[in-house]
Symmetry: C2
Subunit: 430 residues, 2 copies
């Protein structure tokens, strides 16, 4: 048990999560397992005067988060600024260098600079915790990092971006286009003004990079993560996939492959009855498969101010109670980085969609090209779609080398009867 | 980081879980976050010569688990004996008194004697961990104990006994009776020779008592837990409930009620589309609802040697890395016990099934008795069942005080046209 004392938290970043955290800490004063009082002593944000839902009177104000991080006005530093570089990174480094435990919700920072920051934290001997970076309040980091430490994780597959999941769910439910639903999500505050991080798959990629590092005893390597967003998913694809028994989800996955790990984010087809297909709206969901345990499943609100604040609070308690764990699975300086996997080794099953001219011989040309490449077709669907410029042809393939498939798709794209860039989405291995 | 050293584990109880744990530790030697080597140094079981799947040559043998627990041949004591009292309790006490961290998979021990053992562990200043006691390798204890420490849990509802879930799933799938499926489960080793602990609901009750204590900042109080097993669930009920859109599951629940917590285990009707209805076979599944986070969901194999050994391994790592947490949410001597809730305060919706003589006026008599008591009927189903002695009448009620409902059921049971003891199962609040 720690000695009873007053723990002073410094919070940099006072958006919705920061406000929820201030409210949580003000309401609770402490956490049951901690023998002491916890309070937010000092804060920093871009504008002191901006109207916000939390009360910052009585808190020491810093214009500069780095100054707050290195000050003696707090014992623990919470970084809620965001972004892989700039003030967030500078502030986290300053806090660690001044000997303070750091808690961050910043997935980009940990995915990109995790190895270096972990090494610094371990050198200084303070915790660097980031539960809030992945799945909000659903403790995916804790589960992978702590609960499965005695098992060999084989794969982690799930839905890690609530904005994309919301957009895909809404497109299916309302029959509206990606652009329409995105615009509405932006109006409602579910999507950022610049939505690239979410809809481009980068947010999910940051998160799966972090989980992969914890799962496979490595440090994160965001550059080795394959990323494809949902911008290419059209309503037509959602409908055609459904006709074939699938729902399109943005799936983040990390799989152990000999000597390394395959980490990627892709729109993927999930069987309609599968829990990942059924996790709709802004839900996040994750399957973790390991040798002895088998498969466990976690699901919950993966973002939002309240859930994220709960994750930060858990990290505050852990920072005060459990300070002896390395940041990742082993001391950062001893861990390898996750390496990119040569895509020529990969096999997949895929959904392909071509928009073609309504003229004789087109189907034959498409199917011959696939046959020549050795791509075996599992199911085939052609149906006229009202208002479409051409005729969509949709098919799913049996397992095939990705490089072979992509080359065949390129050849089909070059046919004069093909009107639009072909779409290729993988069928999730779940 | 801890200093690199060799950690010696003493294991008492060498059933399937003990054997899996020895294999896990022998295979891995250590865990990534621990700077040292972990090995099983000493073991104890009922019979030294009994054939078992693990290799105990080279381990120090103890006939008496208490002697092993207090010996200097191990640094950490793992209790896999089982049972709330007897040698398990004596050995855990001896280990704690000799200053050793204790890890146990024993739900009965923690549910019944958790407060007293926690106080002892905290007095000595060593961890007492029990992740493996609930949901096997699915880290329900860690999630409730650590991840939600900054939130107010309102309810925990789920399936915590794999044997019962397997039996109910098989009854529905194969159309066989409870007795038939139980006998088969016993032959296959899925159920114990004396199945009372599982099918009587006691195992699930031990587990939910532990989770309730962690969720509501109390110590466990098994005596305050209402327990009803699945022995009264007939194939007929499973089929009739399905006709009404429900699946019968053994549901364990803990709900915050003013000033206390309602903790119970009952066969309950779950809507067919609900994740708890869809968690079949030996799966365990749990919803945790809290104020800020909302609802999170955990699912996975809730028992079995491998999963349970993984949970014990996580606790070994935690014992070496995170020794400063209280056993429950706060120091055990400061926590209240969970108190039993006065059932007259409770409301429920229920499924009722009566087996009646096929003669005029019976339905009128049943429905009049319910109407007089103020029990409002939501749906009603009567259909002849081949080979049945009488005619089953099934109905579901709107929300009603449990005491009122039970009194009305007693009056109906006394009617001369009623052939069998009425069945009453609650409709799960999920």
């Amino acid at each position: 048990m720690t000695v009873a004392r007053a723990w002073r938290i410094g919070v940099a970043g006072l958006g919705t999560v920061g406000a929820a955290l201030l409210d949580l800490i003000d309401t609770r004063k402490g956490f049951a397992p901690i023998d002491g009082v916890v309070s937010v002593s000092a804060v920093s944000a871009r504008s002191r005067s901006r109207p916000r839902s939390c009360d910052i009177s009585g808190k020491i104000w810093y214009d500069d988060p780095v100054a707050l991080a290195s000050s003696s006005d707090c014992d623990i530093f919470v970084e809620l600024i965001g972004g892989s570089d700039g003030p967030a990174k500078a502030a986290v480094e300053a806090a660690l260098k001044s000997g303070k435990p750091v808690i961050t919700a910043n997935k980009a920072l940990i995915a990109v600079h995790g190895a270096e920051l972990a090494a610094l934290a371990e050198e200084v001997g303070v915790p660097l915790l980031f539960e809030a970076a992945v799945m909000g309040g659903v403790p995916a980091v804790k589960v992978v990092r702590e609960a499965l430490v005695g098992d060999d994780i084989q794969s982690i597959v799930g839905i890690l971006n609530g904005t994309c999941n919301y957009i895909l769910t809404e497109m299916e439910a309302t029959g509206r286009s990606f652009a329409d639903v995105l615009a509405e999500a932006q109006r409602l505050g579910y999507a950022e003004a610049d939505p690239t991080t979410d809809v481009g798959g980068f947010d999910a990629a940051h998160k799966i990079s972090i989980l992969a590092a914890l799962a496979f005893n490595c440090t994160p390597n965001f550059d080795a993560t394959e990323v494809e967003g949902i911008e290419q998913v059209e309503l037509l694809d959602i409908q055609m996939a459904k006709d074939l028994g699938y729902r399109i989800k943005l799936i983040a996955s990390a799989e152990r492959v000999e000597g390394s790990a395959l980490v990627r984010v892709h729109p993927s087809l999930t069987p309609l009855g599968h829990p990942l297909a059924q996790a709709g709206g802004a839900l996040n969901a994750l399957f973790i498969e390991s040798t002895r345990l088998g498969r466990i499943y976690l699901q919950g609100p993966g973002a939002g101010a309240g859930p994220t604040a709960v994750a930060v609070a858990a990290d505050i308690a852990d920072a005060l109670l459990a300070t002896r764990r390395p940041v990742f699975q082993g001391p950062a300086r001893t861990l390898p980085q996750i390496e990119a996997v040569d895509p020529s080794r990969l096999m997949c099953r895929a959904y392909l969609r071509f928009l073609v001219k309504d003229e004789p011989g087109v189907i034959a040309a498409v199917s011959e090209t696939l046959a020549e490449a050795g791509v075996s077709i599992e199911s085939f669907l052609q149906k006229p779609v009202e208002g479409a410029a051409g005729v969509p042809i949709v098919l799913t393939t049996h397992s095939v080398a990705e490089s072979v498939l992509m080359a065949a798709v390129e050849r089909i794209a070059a046919l004069s009867a093909v009107l639009d860039r072909p779409r290729m989405f993988r069928i999730a291995r779940i």
